[in-house]
């Protein structure tokens, strides 16, 4: 079966984004690694069905804040998160929230492609199997195919689904990781510098893919490339030394930044 893609790339990224539902609402977020204060009193609203980019110099806390959104920071012993983080109006750090279930709703793609050393099929089927999303082999086959198609990888791998995912090229591996994340049917996709280990052509392919996925997910992407942020995102947040300095429509951030630090960063004067 083939999945028809909703045509969502029509609107150029730079156009002012329409108002969407809120996905995340965060207030007064602080993150500490031991004694180090990595995120300082941060407040942000992240909208559904568009791409939000986190930019800023290295070490400013982009990844740290991104990992708050699916509680991946829980796996770091010394990391402490405080504040109010709501997903669809629900506090994700409330005691009754199971971080494991949260991560099924908020998928993540990492900086370095990290496919499991299993077959391509088993990589994509990993999440669905864990969460029991399908009831028989046929449904699972369909879900795997649909996910790989959405990730733009199906045509390249349909004849070698039983070959190891680690044997693919870097760009293909990263798309496999995206397919793997999509397969658990998340609402949000977090991407931490997903192209930084890839060559320009593979990068272009992933950026195109992000544009296609935008209509179905809330996507948050960390990037160190301002061109990339300008190309793929509708909203941009500029981080500096643990502070959220400026947040707004990507066009505004890049054309008329309000803060001096943002302007300096965008003009390549530091970072």
């Amino acid at each position: 079966m083939t999945l028809t893609m909703e045509n969502s790339v029509g609107a150029p990224a730079a156009q002012a984004a329409p108002r969407n539902d809120l996905k995340f609402a965060c207030r007064g977020v602080n993150v500490h690694y031991g004694d180090a204060h990595a995120i300082k009193d941060l407040a942000i609203d992240i909208e559904d069905r568009l791409v939000t980019a986190f930019i800023g110099p290295s070490g400013c806390g982009k990844s740290t804040f991104l990992r708050c959104l699916n509680r991946m920071n829980d796996t770091i012993a010394i990391c402490r998160v405080t504040g109010d983080l709501k997903l669809d109006g629900e506090d994700i750090y409330a005691p009754r929230v199971d971080p494991v279930q949260l991560r099924a709703r908020v998928g993540m793609v990492f900086q370095k492609p990290n496919p499991f050393p299993k077959s391509i099929y088993d990589n994509v089927a990993y999440g669905p199997r864990i969460h029991g999303l399908t009831s028989n082999r046929e449904e699972l086959d369909e879900l795997v195919e649909a996910s790989l198609t959405k990730a733009g990888l199906w045509n390249e791998v349909k004849d070698r689904l039983d070959k190891p995912g680690t044997g693919l090229s870097g760009g293909q591996q990263q798309r496999l990781c995206i397919a793997r994340a999509i397969a658990t049917k998340p609402e949000v996709l977090l991407m931490d510098e997903p192209c930084s280990a890839l060559d320009p052509i593979a990068t272009d392919r992933i950026e195109q893919l992000i544009g296609e996925l935008r209509s179905q997910f809330c996507i948050v992407i960390v990037t160190h490339s301002m061109q990339q942020a300008a190309r793929v995102s509708q909203k941009t947040a500029f981080f500096h030394l643990g502070h959220l300095v400026e947040y707004g429509d990507t066009t505004d951030i890049f054309n008329k930044p309000r803060d001096k630090r943002t302007e300096d960063y965008i003009n390549g004067r530091f970072g």
Partner: protein
């Protein structure tokens, strides 16, 4: 003599290094960048070459002189006492060496005194000649090496080539010794099987090889090794039953759940456990564990031998735990964090991540760890001698005394029977053990390759 040689070698090598370096620096004339190789490589090249030449000269000189001294003493002895047999002549020679060297000769007489005097002269000569030749060869080499130093000389490449040669030589020695051991093993085993049919050895169920010895011939009916194979299998099986799950689970706990502090305390303790000599485990098994098992068995109304396969197997399992857990822990820790993050990021729990991602990725290493434990269990002798007995009972009952292949090899070789007779069965047993272990390794590696999930 040895101290002097070591001193000469050390001085020559250091001098060669320093001189080579200095000469290269001088050749560069202030601008080091004109040199093809940096001065340290010139120094290393000269040092390596000089050391090897001096060492080789000493070795050759020692061999030649030894041959010459023995020949000279032998001819002197034949002159003075022509009637001596060659064995007596050797005895006189070694006594003479003892007299001149201040040792303990078996007898002192006029002949021995005379030979000792000659020995003393010749030994004194060797003591001077060997270091002298080494020094001369070393100096000559040093001189040629230094003469070759110039800006274009490729000391860097050449010294690497010398080092490669040394490494190859080491590898060849390792391979040759293995081949040598194997050849003698195969040869002796073939000789044994020329007297005893293979099936009598492999499938016979009575093991008492030396009781049937008559005029140096073994009794075919009493060299059936089946009881030994059964005993070995039984004990190894019990040991692995203890060591595999406990070792693996301990490793998973240490690598995945334990806090860093816990891990850094427990791991060294486990490693200490791995260093306890097996003799200690052996008498622990015999003196502490065996009576407990016996007591429990009797309370349950079972008849338990005072030496049992169960006791030996249990203690052997405990002995192997640290090997398996320590190795498995390393293997599990080596699985990249990125894989765990990927799995956790998809919403799987820690346990699911371990089961579905970490352990499969670590499988080849885990199998190696298990194999290592298995090899130790099969080869372990001390614990079995003390705790399982020596009686070759053909049984799979863990409560009875059994014996193993390795224990019987020890019994055969250390017993009073003439080595030429006892060695046959011992070699046959050793060879069988070797074949079984090798086969096991090959099969396991095949399996691992088939199911491996390579993450690099």
């Amino acid at each position: 003599m040895f101290g002097l040689m070591a001193l000469i070698l050390a001085v020559l090598t250091i001098a060669a290094y320093v001189l080579g370096r200095r000469r290269a620096t001088a050749a560069a004339g202030g601008d080091l960048s004109v040199l093809h190789s940096r001065p340290v490589y010139h120094g290393a090249y000269a040092a390596l070459l000089t050391f090897l030449a001096a060492f080789a000269a000493a070795a050759v000189a020692a061999l030649v002189l030894r041959w010459f001294v023995d020949g000279s003493l032998n001819s002197l002895i034949s002159e003075l006492a022509p009637s001596l047999s060659s064995i007596e002549r050797d005895l006189v020679r070694s006594d003479a060496a003892a007299i001149s060297g201040g040792g303990f000769p078996s007898r002192v007489d006029e002949l021995r005194q005379t030979v000792a005097a000659r020995h003393g002269t010749l030994a004194g000569l060797s003591a001077v000649l060997i270091p002298g030749l080494a020094l001369a060869a070393g100096l000559a080499t040093l001189w040629t090496a230094l003469k070759r130093v110039n800006v274009d000389f490729r000391a860097r490449n050449l010294s690497e080539r010398i080092v490669m040669g040394v490494l190859i030589a080491a590898a060849v020695v390792a391979i040759l010794t293995t081949v040598g051991i194997l050849t003698s093993l195969i040869g002796e085993t073939a000789r044994f099987f020329s007297q005893i049919p293979v099936h009598k050895f492999l499938f016979g169920s009575t093991w008492s090889p030396l009781s049937g010895v008559f005029e140096g011939r073994l009794d075919q009916e009493r060299v059936g090794a089946l009881p030994l194979f059964a005993g070995t299998l039984l004990i190894t099986f019990i040991a692995m039953l203890v060591a595999l799950p406990i070792g693996l689970f301990a490793a998973i706990y240490l690598a995945e759940y334990a806090s860093p502090r816990m891990r850094s305390t427990v791991k060294p303790i486990l490693e200490i456990l791995a260093g306890v000599p097996t003799v200690v485990y052996g008498f622990f098994a015999a003196i502490t564990v065996a009576p407990v098992i016996r007591g429990i068995g009797e309370a349950l109304g079972l008849s338990v031998a005072s030496e049992s396969a169960l006791g030996a197997g249990l203690v052997m399992g405990v002995m192997i735990i640290p090997f398996i857990s320590s190795l498995s822990d390393d293997v599990i820790t080596a699985v990249p964090q990125a894989l765990r993050d990927g799995s956790l990021g998809l919403g799987s729990t820690h346990a699911e991540t371990i089961k579905k991602v970490v352990l499969p990725a670590a499988l080849p290493g885990l199998v190696s760890a298990a194999l290592l434990g298995f090899a130790r269990a099969i080869g372990e002798t001390m614990i079995v001698v003390m705790a399982a007995g020596q009686g070759a009972n053909f049984t799979f009952n863990p409560l009875e005394a059994v014996t193993t292949v390795t224990v019987q090899i020890v019994m055969l070789i250390t017993g009073d029977t003439e080595a030429s007779t006892a060695a046959g069965p011992a070699f046959a047993l050793g060879f069988t053990l070797f074949v079984v272990t090798l086969g096991f390794n090959i099969v396991a590696q095949r399996l691992v390759r088939k199911y491996r999930e390579a993450y690099d």
